[in-house]
């Protein structure tokens, strides 16, 4: 392939520090207005800074241009199909941004007296009630900042629950295919991970579960699961799994990363889960922001409720002629305590509550149905032609909201790794699926189209895959050296880790 530089490629990366020039500035600050004193009279000299931090010196037009240019070096959901498995890259409604920016939300101080923040507390309470209904569990804390934070919360709740019963349990079961955050949270919460084998459907291997429970009798604190599982298949044994874990005295934790498959169709609480985290940045449309912010509220059963983080948003009955009101409840003697400052990522709550209001109960259920329809349709399209031959489905039956393909035959027959396919997809204007996860599928590609994609997008994606596989039959080097059209081409990640340069070097 002829390697002519695109204009974007020709424009070499320059940082804002490299565009800086002494004497330039953007900010116009107000005058002090007050009688000024020498700084050293106010703060002892030895506590003062000698040289100011080397921030850039640059005027506003060039700041705007700089970040505008940088933005064009990103691919984003608003530009095209983004089927990143387990990430639920659904449309981010702009209405949600508008309501989050209302001064009553955006400029509300978190320490405002609850009596003067009734709208915010009511919104949080309404969101709690909505999530409770969706999850099928009676109590919700909105405090955790993301899914992994919700996991840590769930494990600390489990610890508190057992401690309250005079038990100290040391082990947490998690499938060997679980999301990486699960075992990392387990360690951080002071537990030891015991891996449970996965069957070829991606479900819990029941014999191994029974064996691990027997081997660790009295020591198992919790089992962490997603359902649908990492292959996008609903684990039919879930009721039996819940029974086994509960008989063994453990709690059952639901990683809500895959909740978008089942909203309004099946509820984790009804499946037997005790603790659920919900990723508001996945199922509930909070924009992903290039890696956050998100929020990871948790829903729990009655027996876990006493331990929920503090403070909790509560509704109090009216008295003295006043109607019911909302408050922050700090008097929670068995609470695990705070997981963070203030009340949580409120701005995310506003967006997600707006989303729930927009869709309603009927719309959420239809959203999940369409997500499942889109996934199964794309799976069917990819079962045809070359894709069907080179990229077989890891487990061939109806999927839920996502599915996993294996690039093993593609690698064997064409010499193309899953990574090569992913990089070639960039040239076709698609974000690749999640690659090399789950680990039980060789050369895995995890595809989650979401409900907000059109049939045309799904068709175009399937056609791009077909085309890449076809061209690879003649010229596998094409994909192996891809991408060609992106702002930069394949990057040396090893170098960045062996000799890390993680900040600007000033001369």
């Amino acid at each position: 392939m002829a390697l002519t530089e695109t204009p974007m490629q020709a424009e070499r990366a320059r940082t804002i520090y490299e565009k800086s020039k002494p004497g330039r500035r953007a900010a116009a600050l107000p005058a002090a207005e007050v009688p000024e004193k020498p700084l050293a009279e106010l703060i002892p000299e030895n506590l003062l800074r000698a040289a100011p931090p080397r921030l850039p010196e640059i005027a506003e037009p060039e700041i705007v241009r700089h970040y505008n240019r940088l933005s064009r070096r990103n691919f984003d959901l608003d530009s095209g199909f983004y089927p990143l498995g387990s990430c639920t890259m659904k449309h981010n409604p702009r209405l949600n941004e508008r309501v989050a920016a209302l001064p009553g939300h955006a400029r509300l101080h978190p320490a405002q007296d609850p009596r003067r923040a009734q709208g915010a507390l009511e919104l949080m309470w309404l969101l709690q009630e909505s999530l409770s209904e969706i999850c099928g569990l009676p109590h919700v804390s909105l405090q955790p900042s993301a899914g992994s934070h919700g996991e840590l919360a769930g494990l600390l709740l489990t610890r508190a629950y057992h401690a309250d019963r005079g038990e100290e349990r040391t082990k947490v079961l998690a499938p060997d295919t679980s999301h990486g955050t699960n075992p990392a949270s387990v360690t951080m919460a002071g537990y030891e991970v015991v891996k449970v084998a996965t069957d070829e459907q991606g479900g819990v291997e029941m014999d191994d579960l029974r064996a691990k429970l027997a081997e660790n009798e009295g020591e198992v604190a919790c089992l962490m699961l997603t359902n649908p599982n990492t292959l996008g298949v609903f684990d039919e044994n879930i009721a039996e799994i819940a029974k086994l874990i509960h008989e063994a005295g453990g709690t059952l934790y639901y990683d809500g990363a895959n909740l978008n498959a089942v909203m309004g169709h099946s509820r984790p609480g009804d499946m037997g889960f005790d603790i659920v985290h919900v990723n508001l940045h996945k199922s509930f449309s909070q924009p992903h922001g290039g890696g956050g912010p998100g929020a990871g509220p948790i829903a729990v059963s009655d027996r876990i409720e006493p331990y929920l983080p503090r403070p909790q948003v509560v509704r109090r009955a009216g008295s003295n002629g006043h109607g019911p009101g909302f408050d922050l409840d700090f008097e929670r003697p068995k609470s695990i305590g705070r997981l963070r400052g203030f009340q949580g990522n409120f701005g995310v709550f506003v967006r997600s509550y707006a989303y729930i209001l927009s869709l309603g109960g009927d719309g959420l259920s239809e959203a999940s149905e369409t997500a499942v329809l889109n996934a199964n349709y794309l799976k069917a399209r990819l079962a045809e032609g070359r894709a069907g031959e080179r990229l077989p489905i890891a487990f061939d039956r109806h999927c839920m909201h996502e599915f996993v393909l294996s690039g093993k035959p593609m690698k064997r027959d064409l010499g193309l790794a899953t990574l090569d396919l992913a990089k070639r997809l960039l040239d076709f204007g698609f974000h690749p699926p999640t690659v090399y996860f789950p680990l039980l599928v060789e050369e895995a590609l995890m595809v989650e189209p979401t409900e907000t994609e059109t049939k045309e997008s799904l068709d175009a994606f399937a056609e791009a895959i077909e085309k890449i596989l076809a061209e690879a039959e003649d010229n596998p080097e094409l994909a192996k050296n891809a991408p060609y059209t992106t702002p930069v081409r394949r990057l040396d990640e090893v170098k960045a880790t062996r000799q890390p340069v993680v900040r600007q070097q000033f001369g």
Partner: protein
């Protein structure tokens, strides 16, 4: 109501045909029948956009935000002016709607922002390594504690009572999990008790954790306090307010191993507490133990400069149970807001803003303590926040001042029972001299009214003079 989907009845039929099923319901048959909900969710039906807007706007109306009330409340989050370009840039789809930059070739914008942000935070704190941001302040403290345990193989934290109460409580919550012990050191005259601190640190101490300015606003002598940590091989962790770092000696020059804090003052809204971000900087020695994402510079196959996620072997998606932290989704967009705000302030403006805060705070401190019934809670040097004592019940005074459209400050009583009469007052560049004067007047009036309404203990017990009624 599914206006965010596009499948027409015709699309659906074609898709179902391709799948080989008669209805979408068939696809859900893999869920065992007893576990299917079998009824609609008990939530209202969907609403039109205008209706949702009105509903949310009506809720927002019922909050006394910093536009409705002049806000002197700080306590970790501050009502700074966020320049318009922050909103303009952070609302660009290209920054707003992608996810974590797992495909660096199409994520150079976000990765370069991380690199620039890391540089800025590293400059502010005076430490060589910064990550790309954590959730927020207090949980960053807990993550630093986890790092210190890994680095020292010890399990005790010596913590100043000047550390934000939310940070202390979050650290305690995490410590129950990862098995650490907390020893708290009290305050003397608004500052960490140096002798008590030195006495509390020993060979079992993983970290000494301070905050400067501390929760009462006092600028601590971090270097002097940190000596005890150095002596016993413990890490020195310093929480700081980024807006003061143009003026105050950076933690990195005071011997800190880790400097971190709540990032909200930089380019982020109050948002009733979040989302904001936590910043986290450290010495080179800790780089492979850092939590969170770190962007690093590298080259592509043609030799072009580029950026990638560096040192990913620390992270959960690679290392699983051996990861340095469990964090995954964090606060990239909030860190971008901070970077744009810092670029807008620039080298000169950042320092000028710091000076402005110090000058106005000094004025406010003097002005308010001239009010009858207001006394300084401590005389330690302060930067942008200070504590006073009121001679009438704080909550009642706050209510009276609120009637005049002013949120006077943060009552200290809940977090510091020893300062039941304490009020913490914060200054930003938005708090003008005339607002400070108005606060002084309103506080004076409220205090005097409270004294009238609720005579002091002694007066209340005094017998009613004859003929008074």
């Amino acid at each position: 109501m599914t206006r965010y989907t596009s499948a027409t009845p015709d699309d659906r039929r074609q898709m179902l045909d391709a799948i080989g099923v008669g209805s979408a319901a068939e696809l859900f048959e893999q869920i065992p029948e007893p576990l299917r909900l079998g009824r609609p969710l008990a939530l209202p039906d969907g609403m039109g956009e205008a209706e949702v807007y009105e509903r949310l706007a009506a809720l927002a109306e019922r909050n006394a935000d910093a536009e409705a009330q002049v806000c002197f409340v700080g306590a970790g989050m501050y009502d700074h002016y966020v320049p318009a370009i922050v909103d303009a840039i952070t609302s660009r789809s290209e920054f707003l709607t992608p996810y974590t930059p797992y495909q660096p070739e199409i994520s150079q914008g976000g990765l370069q922002v991380m690199f620039e942000f890391q540089t800025a935070m590293s400059e502010l704190t005076g430490l060589p390594v910064s990550n790309a941001g954590l959730y927020e302040g207090p949980s960053s403290v807990a993550s630093a504690g986890y790092l210190a345990m890994g680095a020292t193989k010890r399990r005790k934290f010596v913590v100043s009572r000047g550390l934000h109460p939310h940070s202390r409580e979050t650290l305690a919550t995490y410590s129950v999990g990862y098995g650490a012990e907390l020893v708290e050191v009290g305050l003397e005259g608004g500052l960490t008790d140096a002798a008590a601190l030195a006495g509390a640190v020993d060979g079992e101490t993983a970290a000494v954790i301070l905050q400067s300015p501390n929760f009462l606003g006092s600028v601590e002598d971090v270097e002097a306090l940190g000596a005890a940590a150095k002596e016993h091989g413990a890490l020195l962790i310093v929480a700081c307010d980024p807006m003061t770092l143009g003026i105050l000696k950076p933690p990195g020059e005071c011997g800190a191993d880790i400097a971190l804090g709540e990032g909200q003052p930089l380019g982020n809204r109050l948002d009733f507490g979040g989302p904001s971000f936590g910043f986290f900087c450290a010495t080179e020695a800790q780089i492979r133990r850092m939590p969170g994402r770190i962007a690093g510079e590298t080259e592509d196959v043609d030799g072009r400069r580029g950026f990638v996620l560096a040192l990913q072997t620390r992270e959960q998606h690679i290392r699983r149970e051996k990861a340095t932290n469990n964090i995954c989704t964090a606060q990239a967009l909030n860190a971008l807001g901070a970077m744009v705000h810092l670029a807008w302030l620039g080298r000169q403006g950042f320092r000028e803003l710091g000076e402005l805060l110090v000058q106005r705070t000094a004025y406010a401190r003097e002005r308010l303590t001239a009010v009858d019934g207001v006394k300084l809670l401590h005389e330690a040097p302060v930067a942008r926040e200070f504590a006073v004592r009121l001679d009438a019940p704080v909550d009642k005074v706050l209510d009276r001042v609120a009637e005049r459209g002013i949120a006077a400050g943060y009552p200290l009583g809940r977090d510091y029972p020893e300062f039941e009469d304490g009020l913490l007052i914060a200054i930003t560049e938005r708090r003008t001299k005339s607002q400070i004067d108005e606060l002084a007047e309103a506080l004076g009036a409220a205090l005097s009214a409270e004294r009238g309404a609720f005579p002091s203990q002694k007066d209340a017990k005094a017998p009613v003079p004859e003929g008074a009624s």
